[in-house]
């Protein structure tokens, strides 16, 4: 198993932390992992993206041209990364605020209306976990028990009481992802 993922959106949407939780879940499943953020001036108030690789084998390049999955949370990122999904790959996006929708026919395209689902949950901070749930439904590359272990490792102990809420948000994402 080797899954190469790009997660891209605005700074503040939890792009980097979603990637970190996913990477930690991989470690809990005894996989090799890499988490490579874009860093620099472009992150301050602008777009944020992170490459996450989970693999059964040692990881060579953390810098990638093509991805198995793109998780896209804003228009700029969709414009930038739609073409970077490998043929047969997966593109998940939040349609909220998207005016130019993806047009490729050689990949699987899914939507998750994460903002609306968060509003229903009454917790805007669970946004990235809803999105993570949508991804894990489409590609169950890590077991739920390892995701929870990954969450525990990623979140400071003083916030561990929020883990059930995060788990619930992941479940919502799993239930509400729509394959187009």
């Amino acid at each position: 198993m080797k899954e190469e993922i790009i997660i891209a959106g605005f700074g503040g949407q939890g792009v980097l932390s979603m990637g970190k939780i996913l990477a930690y879940s991989g470690i809990m499943q005894d996989q090799e992992v890499a988490w490579m953020p874009s860093y620099g001036p472009e992150m301050r108030g602008g777009t944020a993206n992170v490459t996450v690789i989970l693999s059964d084998n040692k990881i060579s390049s953390p810098i990638l041209n093509k991805f198995d999955t793109a998780i896209i949370l804003n228009q700029q990122s969709l414009d930038k990364f739609e073409s970077a999904v490998k043929p047969g790959g997966l593109l998940i996006y939040d349609p909220n605020g998207i005016t130019h929708h993806p047009t490729r026919t050689d990949i699987t395209i899914c939507t998750i209306d994460a903002a609306a689902e968060c509003a229903e949950l009454g917790n805007a901070k669970a946004y990235n976990m809803v999105v993570l749930g949508a991804f894990l439904k489409m590609k169950p590359i890590v077991k739920m028990e390892n995701v929870i272990k990954g969450l525990k490792k990623s979140i400071p102990e003083r916030h561990h009481h929020l883990i059930p809420m995060n788990e619930q948000a992941i479940q919502v994402g799993m239930n509400k992802v729509i394959k187009k």
């Binding site: 970190k20 990477a23 992992v33 490579m36 953020p37 001036p41 990881i59 810098i63």
Partner: protein, 358 residues
């Protein structure tokens, strides 16, 4: 079983420093390595191992604090990024002259000048050819994985003390900022005062009646005796070249073409090599782990089977000069690189492989 945790390369450096029994860290913040000091400050090792962590007023001050600590036989270190290392070069030269062990971590960014904050390898010359003045060398380790960022801290101190010379971990923004799985080792105790006297009998630990004064200096106004010191240093560097070369090879057994790359570029090249191999291009990778001492013999040994070599670096072609000396006209040495903080992608390297080797 040892714990495996998700760490940025910079965080791995900080934790490794605590775990290997480092006595002191002195530094000044600069992107892309600020997490080294941030992590140390958060871990508060002064409450556990007694390790000192101090933010100095500048890089110049940091390296001179390291100089002072090293003179007393302590395991001391600093970290910075390219422009900060330039400021430290005077101190590194003095420590090389005074034969003091220390660890300097350089998480390189694009230059010259303040340059960019993105990854680069453009300090290869500075690290391996001096940087500061005078005929000196430092041990230079080039990690390519988060685990190596962690492991090389202990290794760098071991080598620095073994040979009484500064050691450097020459990383880059990719390895510093990327998070990977890192296996954590057991806490080593810091050396006691008795252990320092035993392990570093040259150190300024307070003169006792049974020995002469230990003097830490890089100054010798007598040219004849200074030359003697230079000869001694050069002999030491030859011993290091004899004993401490480290490298890895990837798909080299039947290779007709050899890529030489270090740090993050070695990993990116590996992916390109896998793709080129699918096309039937017989290309392999040699990754120097030690940039000084450089794996000259390992590359020389591969020459008879090679049609050409290519250096892949995030600079204008610095290591390529060392490869040309080794090739000595027997095979052509090509170069592919990006500069200024742009990281070469596997596709670009693949295209360079096809262009040069097919």
């Amino acid at each position: 079983m040892a714990e495996k945790i998700l760490l940025k390369g910079n965080e791995a450096i900080a934790l490794a420093a605590i775990h290997c029994g480092c006595d002191g860290y002195f530094g000044y913040p600069i992107t892309p390595q600020s997490e080294v000091m941030e992590t140390l400050m958060a871990e508060k090792p002064w409450e556990t191992t007694g390790m000192v962590v101090l933010q100095a007023e500048s890089e110049t001050a940091s390296i001179n604090m390291v100089y002072g600590g090293a003179g007393t036989g302590k395991k001391v270190m600093t970290s910075s990024s390219s422009p900060g290392i330039s400021l430290m070069c005077e101190g590194i030269s003095y420590m090389a002259g005074a034969e003091l062990p220390c660890l300097v971590v350089d998480v390189q960014r694009g230059g010259p000048g303040l340059g960019t904050i993105q990854p680069s390898q453009s300090d290869y010359f500075q690290a391996t050819k001096g940087g500061g003045h005078g005929d000196y060398k430092i041990i230079v380790l080039a990690p390519a994985y988060g685990q190596e960022m962690y492991d090389f801290v202990d290794l760098a101190f071991e080598l620095a003390f073994k040979y009484r010379m500064p050691a450097m971990i020459l990383a880059d923004g990719v390895i510093g900022q990327m998070m990977e799985k890192v296996e954590i080792k057991e806490q080593k105790p810091r050396w006691t005062a008795e252990e320092i006297i035993k392990n570093a009998p040259w150190a300024a630990t307070g003169k006792t009646a049974d020995r002469k004064r230990n003097i830490i200096t890089s100054l010798d106004l007598d040219p004849v005796s200074q030359e003697k010191h230079n000869i001694h240093l050069q002999e030491k560097y030859r011993t290091v070249e004899e004993n401490e070369v480290r490298y890895t090879e990837y798909r080299c057994d039947d290779a007709e073409h050899l890529i030489v790359a270090f740090g993050c570029m070695a990993r990116i090249a590996e992916t390109a090599i896998d793709r080129a191999r699918e096309e039937g291009i017989k290309v392999g990778l040699l990754r120097p782990i030690t940039l000084f001492p450089f794996p000259k013999k390992a590359i020389e040994n591969r020459l008879p089977q090679l049609k050409s070599m290519m250096s892949v670096e995030l600079n204008a072609g610095q290591m390529v000069e060392d490869l040309k000396l080794i090739a000595n006209g027997k095979v052509p040495v090509h170069f592919f690189g990006r500069m200024g903080g742009v990281v070469a992608s596997p596709d670009e390297i693949y295209e360079a492989i096809v262009k040069r080797f097919k």
